[in-house]
């Protein structure tokens, strides 16, 4: 990594899997992923790049632990939802309720139940992320 600027990170987001990802990602779109999403280092560049590429939230069968924390800390909602990959197709319109973990697939008219984000983490995200939350407490 030669830069930590969000705009630079957005350009190389997910390039190993799909070099076209940044172009194909519609602003406000969702990523639906499989198991161990975000596996790897402590670098916050991972969630920051996804957020900067326009991702509004990620729904996955399972997240890697450091990625899960880092994503919430930088205000990128992540919902763990076993079985989600087979329940959603590319282009489906989704509505996600963070506090209940409920994912409504509007295109298919179905509902999938994910793991809700704990209350105190929602409070942190409402504050604008971990740093903003910390500033409120000082």
């Amino acid at each position: 990594m030669t830069s930590f600027k969000p705009a630079d990170l957005a350009k190389i987001c997910m390039r190993d899997i799909d070099p076209e990802f940044p172009q194909r990602m519609a602003p406000g779109g969702f990523v639906v992923a499989g198991k161990n999403f975000g596996c790897g280092s402590s670098r916050e560049g991972a969630p920051i790049s996804l957020k900067a590429a326009g991702v509004q939230a990620i729904v996955a069968e399972e997240f890697a632990r450091i990625f899960y924390r880092n994503a919430l800390n930088v205000c990128l909602p992540v919902i763990e939802c076993p079985g989600v990959v087979s329940a959603i197709d590319l282009g489906d319109e989704l509505e996600i309720a963070l506090s209940s973990g409920t994912i409504r697939n509007i295109s298919k008219g179905s509902v999938i139940q994910g793991v809700p984000i704990p209350g105190f983490l929602l409070e942190m995200m409402r504050a604008g992320g971990l740093i903003a939350f910390l500033k409120q407490q000082l």
Binding site: T2, D16, N36, R43, A64, N73, I131, K135
Partner: protein, 433 residues
């Protein structure tokens, strides 16, 4: 849960794992259960140069002092010394922060954070340690709870001295048997990864025990805990015993809690592993869990060998590598990088004549640092190149080109590849039998 455990739970005497005990103490609680979220007090907070440099400007903005400057350890190891202006900027950022906030525990280019912290006595049994590096799991080898966090979280820790943690379920890895000659802790860990995968311990603690671990050196235990994160684990841990005490002697002072898991503690899974006949193991591209016994990959041509890093750059690792390389020349097709994990290890290698062995064989010897493991400096791979590395990750592009391939192996297997120019069974090399 068995009947005895249920009875104890009803009496309020539920038994706990080592990790649960540490987190209960750190949270000021009598007991905690897996899945609970607690605020744990942090005993040591470690930053490495790059991910620290990302936290410092955000912390400065708060305009407050750090919660406890003696509990912070800052390390410059990834950009040691810097190779680009960007890296030089990180180094400057670190030096200024240490000066401005009075951080006295500051190690500039003296080795990799995960070797320096245990070696310099910052890791004590029962402690809670967090670091801005995913391989912070390493310190569990001394019976501490330690885990990696992001830069933003470190800003919180610097301000508050605590952190929210979900109490992890514990997986017990029971390892028994006598490791065959030349088969090392790294081979054991790669075998475990082949069994449980890169998410087999996600969010969970990996507690290593059994006869093999009891007989294992601290260097070996550090390797096991280092790579716990490769199975997705929150932390790796080994119970304190005589080997731990002897390692801590003349290193760590003050009170220490020598905790152990209760006999009937609840494990989410118990994994049994017999290592009596374990072959050397190799993780093939591009995943640490894509593991094969050496026999299946023999003959793969190699361009670079890396012996070093926080996984495979300790004294025991270089003694083993030197045993196989001694009196031979490195294959003319190969460049073999020797990068000690710390300045203390480097000095011991000098005293024991290991550096001479490597120099005479034609190895490239570097100063203590992270090196090319994370794709930062000192030996990046070009298109189409193949590297055998004693490090911990072989993800695509991690060590340079996305068109390069990395095989993870023990220092013995890496040394054998350096001599032969191809992946080779270290037991077939003189000195390896």
């Amino acid at each position: 849960m068995n009947i005895a455990q249920q009875a104890r739970q009803q009496e309020g005497r539920e038994e706990m794992t080592l990790v649960e005990k540490i987190l209960a103490r750190a949270a000021g609680r009598e007991k905690v259960r897996p899945g609970e979220i607690v605020y744990a007090n942090v005993d040591v907070a470690m930053t490495q140069d790059i991910l620290g440099a990302l936290a410092f400007p955000a912390f400065r903005e708060l305009g407050i002092p750090v919660w406890d400057r003696d509990k912070i350890v800052m390390i410059i190891d990834h950009c040691a010394p810097p190779s680009t202006l960007l890296q030089a900027g990180y180094v400057v950022e670190n030096i200024r922060f240490a000066e401005d906030y009075g951080i006295r525990h500051f190690y500039k280019m003296q080795g990799v954070c995960h070797q320096i912290l245990p070696e310099e006595g910052f890791v004590k049994p029962g402690a809670v340690i967090v670091g801005t590096d995913s391989h912070t799991t390493t310190y569990g080898a001394l019976g501490a709870f330690s885990t990696g966090i992001g830069s933003t979280e470190m800003v919180w820790v610097f301000a508050k001295g605590n952190l929210w943690l979900r109490v992890p379920e514990t997986i017990r890895v029971e390892i028994n048997g006598q490791l065959p000659p030349v088969v090392m802790a790294k081979d054991v860990m790669l075998k475990i990864l082949s069994l449980i995968g890169t998410n087999g311990a996600n969010y969970k603690a990996l507690e290593y025990g059994g006869q093999t671990v009891q007989n294992m050196s601290m260097d070996g235990r550090l390797t096991l805990c280092n790579m716990a994160v490769e199975a997705g684990a929150k932390n790796g841990i080994v119970e304190v015993d005589e080997i731990t005490r002897s390692y801590l002697k003349n290193r760590a002072q003050g009170e220490m809690e020598l905790l152990k898991s209760d006999p009937d503690a609840n494990y989410s899974r118990v994994l049994q592993l017999d290592v009596n006949n374990l072959d050397p193991q190799v993780a093939c591209p591009h995943s640490p869990a894509n593991v094969a016994p050496i026999g299946e990959v023999i003959g793969q041509k190699v361009d670079q060998v890396l012996i070093g890093t926080c996984t495979g750059g300790r004294l025991e690792d270089f003694r083993m590598a030197a045993r196989l390389i001694q009196g031979k020349r490195i294959s003319r097709n190969v460049r073999c990088l020797i990068i000690p994990a710390s300045a203390r290890i480097y000095l011991r290698m000098l005293e024991e004549g290991l550096l001479k062995v490597f120099a005479e064989a034609g190895c490239v010897i570097s100063n203590p640092q992270c090196g090319p493991c994370g794709g930062i400096s000192h030996g990046l791979l070009g298109d189409g190149e193949v590297c055998v590395s004693t490090s911990n990750r072989n993800f695509m592009g991690r060590m340079g080109s996305t068109k390069a391939k990395v095989y993870l192996a023990s220092p013995a297997t890496a040394a054998a590849a350096a001599v032969a120019g191809v992946l080779t069974d270290p037991r077939e090399i003189e000195g390896g039998r």
